[in-house]
């Protein structure tokens, strides 16, 4: 490739963890950066205007307020390739748990905590109003690719960028986390489910089969099964695979095989849809 690729990056309703994950290429940054011209990226660079002629726009975070929505449209107009970068952008992510409440409930709670001395005042001056619910970016504009993960691994981001630099399509695993998990499976269903602090999980055996509410079977691979390797169940942060329509439904389908025990699990809606509620078939609480 002759010219540098013009890249723009922005964080919308996210935490900037995807940006940090890109910086976590560490020494490899020195190989990737010279091929890129960062034309806009408020987190690490100073340009204030979104320029025309962007080759690749990486959008982190979903759409929570009117300004987010406006920016997403502006990037679509000005960029050749738009990428929903990370799980918040692709599926709504953790901030999507806000969809279990109305906008009013959310705001009223924040401005009436015990430490608030003047509850009842709601900020509104020179700040963008919230939308009713969090929306994933593909619900607002057409995106060319998604890079899943909370955050996506540095290698995933790098390989996607390198593919695009070479004029190829970035490719992501179509497998599930269980395929990457070294824990041994016996193909049995638990008789009882446990909460993560209960007991001491056997370090060799499948966490789900031991009764821990692991979501590896409903989650796209790519992380290397980091959470099960660290002794805690997968929470689904890479979202669904291409083979299913809805991550929560895919998980529920497996959990249901345990029968009655599955009904006892607390807070099922926010467990099964922890990272993808805004992209679920039922994407918000219906009164």
């Amino acid at each position: 490739m002759a010219d540098k690729v013009k890249v723009a990056m922005i964080q919308l309703c996210g935490c900037s963890g995807c940006h940090i994950s890109l910086l976590d290429l560490h020494d490899k940054l020195l190989e990737v950066l010279p091929n890129l011209e960062i034309v806009y990226a408020p987190i690490v660079a100073d340009p204030k205007e979104i320029p025309d002629g962007i080759d690749v726009a990486l959008l982190e975070g979903g759409v929570r307020n009117e300004h987010d929505e406006h920016l997403v449209h502006e990037f679509r107009e000005k960029a050749k390739i738009v990428i929903a970068w990370g799980t918040c952008a692709a599926y709504g992510g953790i901030p999507g748990l806000g969809n279990l409440y109305t906008k009013e409930e959310l705001i009223n709670r924040v401005y009436s905590t015990e430490s608030t001395d003047n509850p009842g005042t709601i900020p509104s001056e020179e700040i963008p109003p919230l939308e009713d619910y969090v929306k994933p970016i593909p619900d607002v504009i057409k995106v060319d690719y998604i890079i899943p993960g909370c955050p996506p691994t540095p290698d995933m981001i790098a390989s996607a960028i390198v593919a695009l630099l070479n004029g190829e399509e970035p490719k992501f695993s179509t497998k599930i986390v269980c395929d990457e998990c070294p824990r041994k499976k016996e193909n049995v269903f638990p008789e009882k489910f446990k909460r993560t602090f209960e007991g001491k999980p056997d370090p060799e055996k499948c966490l789900f089969e031991q009764g821990y509410t692991c979501l590896g079977m409903a989650t796209r691979a790519g992380c290397g099964a980091k959470c099960p390797n660290a002794g805690v169940p997968c929470r689904g942060c890479y979202g669904k695979t291409d083979a299913v329509l809805d991550q929560g439904a895919a998980a529920a389908n497996t959990f249901a095989n345990a029968g009655e025990a599955a009904l006892e699990i607390p807070d099922k809606v926010a467990l099964l849809n922890r990272f993808s509620l805004p992209a679920a078939l039922i994407s918000k609480k219906i009164k």
Binding site: C13, G17, I20, H26, L30, G98, I107, D267
Partner: protein, 419 residues
């Protein structure tokens, strides 16, 4: 009358803009800092089993996620009345220090340094980390090495470098391995050297920019930090307020925070304005973070950092009130964190397998506090009989600083618009 709008604010995490209203003479009349994003974590952790919350709240911030993870799990331990094994406490502290090293290195070298290394008048297009790599590759190399070490330490102790997961009520989900301990021990002396180089670098930068440091963003505020027996503390201690003149101290337990800290809703920002409740609003506005930490503590815990703290006070006075001195204070803390990591790695208990006790969920109210990279971080949850969160309050590090950042921008605007 005119108006200057700076949007978006850059080289920071989060969303902000500044509006400066000018009077007929072109002098700033009113300066406002607007924090323009709201996500509502205090609402949407309600209804969640408390042990899940430490896996949710790291997404408040992708830079200091570890601090949120740990303040959160400490709050759940406190709500359920759990005393964790001392080895688990040390593994959590090590995880925290990994985050501190990564974040302080990021903040200084990637976000602040372009102003000094590339220069404040450089073309905005090159005033970023890529510019630093071009102009000062040796500095960039050390910055990258420090970040890598910090993130690798978080991954080894926390399971993931970003949004760690091993903090569970009762301790941690896995012990720290001897192989990991040995690998980090091999590198730690180099990291301490790099951190010392950082302190030398900021001293030479200070000499070059002392006029700006002593004029821009100089404000008198209260300070809030975390101390342990009066010493500078990253992970677990008591909170201490220091008055603007450095004469008065107020020390209190994290569980007493509601008696000492209030939050005031303002109409122009999604962020509430915290203040020292004993003093009142707005007189009790205060700063947190490295500058505040160096002001409130009596000394540093480790020898090289303590030496550096004394030099710092010689340069800036006590209490140091120059906002641009934050960078110097941050690099002293980076050194302190590296020194403390070495102590923990050499502690025979760090690889103990005894890292988790049995816990029972119950109704309770717990506060968890750590010193996050941007300053004191407070999580407070109330749980029901099944250990489900019914109420939550969080005061995140940058929130404490927003009102005084606004004051500092106001002061800087007055100086800059004078010309």
């Amino acid at each position: 009358m005119g108006k200057v709008v700076i949007e978006p604010l850059t080289r920071l995490e989060g969303h902000g803009k500044v509006t400066i209203t000018l009077d007929e003479n072109g002098k700033p009349k009113d300066v406002k800092l607007h924090i323009t994003a709201l996500r509502g974590f205090e609402q949407f952790v309600v209804g969640r089993p408390a042990e899940e919350v430490p896996r949710i709240v790291p997404r408040i911030c992708g830079i200091c996620q570890t601090a949120h993870h740990l303040a959160s799990v400490k709050a759940v331990d406190a709500a359920w009345g759990v005393e964790i094994p001392s080895a688990a406490k040390k593994v959590r502290e090590l995880m925290h220090l990994g985050n501190m090293i990564h974040s302080h290195a990021l903040h200084f070298y990637f976000l602040a340094a372009p102003d000094f290394v590339v220069g404040p008048d450089a073309d905005p297009a090159i005033r970023n980390i890529v510019g630093v790599i071009d102009k000062a590759p040796e500095v960039a190399k050390k910055a990258i090495a420090l970040r890598k070490f910090g993130q690798a330490l978080v991954e080894a102790t926390g399971g993931k470098a970003i949004h760690p997961v091993t903090g569970i009520p009762g301790g941690v989900s896995k012990p720290f391995s001897e192989e990991d301990r040995d690998a980090f021990l091999k590198e730690i002396d180099t990291m301490i050297e790099y951190a010392k180089d950082g302190v030398e670098l900021i001293k030479s930068i200070n000499e070059q920019y002392m006029e700006q440091i002593k004029t821009l963003g100089v404000i008198d505020t209260w300070y809030l930090g975390l101390v342990n027996d009066g010493k500078h503390e990253f992970y677990d201690g008591t909170l201490r307020f220091l008055s603007p003149d450095g004469k008065e101290k107020m020390e209190f337990q994290p569980s007493e925070y509601l008696d000492y800290i209030g939050e005031h809703v303002v109409s122009h920002s999604y962020v509430k304005y915290p203040y020292n409740k004993k003093v009142g609003y707005p007189e009790g506005l205060y700063r947190v973070g490295p500058l505040a930490m160096l002001n409130v503590c009596d000394s540093m815990k480790t020898p090289l950092a303590e030496e550096a703290r004394k030099e710092f006070l010689d340069t800036f006075g006590f209490p140091a009130n120059q906002s641009l001195a934050y960078n110097h204070a941050r690099l002293i803390e980076l050194l302190a964190a590296c020194e403390r990591v070495k102590e923990l790695l050499n502690d025979s208990e760090i690889t103990s397998e005894d890292v988790k006790v049995e816990v029972e969920p119950k109704a309770g109210n717990g506060v968890g506090v750590v010193y996050a990279p941007r300053g004191v971080l407070i999580h407070n949850y109330e749980t029901d009989d099944n250990g489900i969160v019914v109420k939550a309050n969080m005061i995140v590090a940058t929130t404490h600083n927003v009102p005084t950042m606004e004051k500092a921008i106001q002061q800087a605007a007055e100086v800059i618009f004078k010309e």
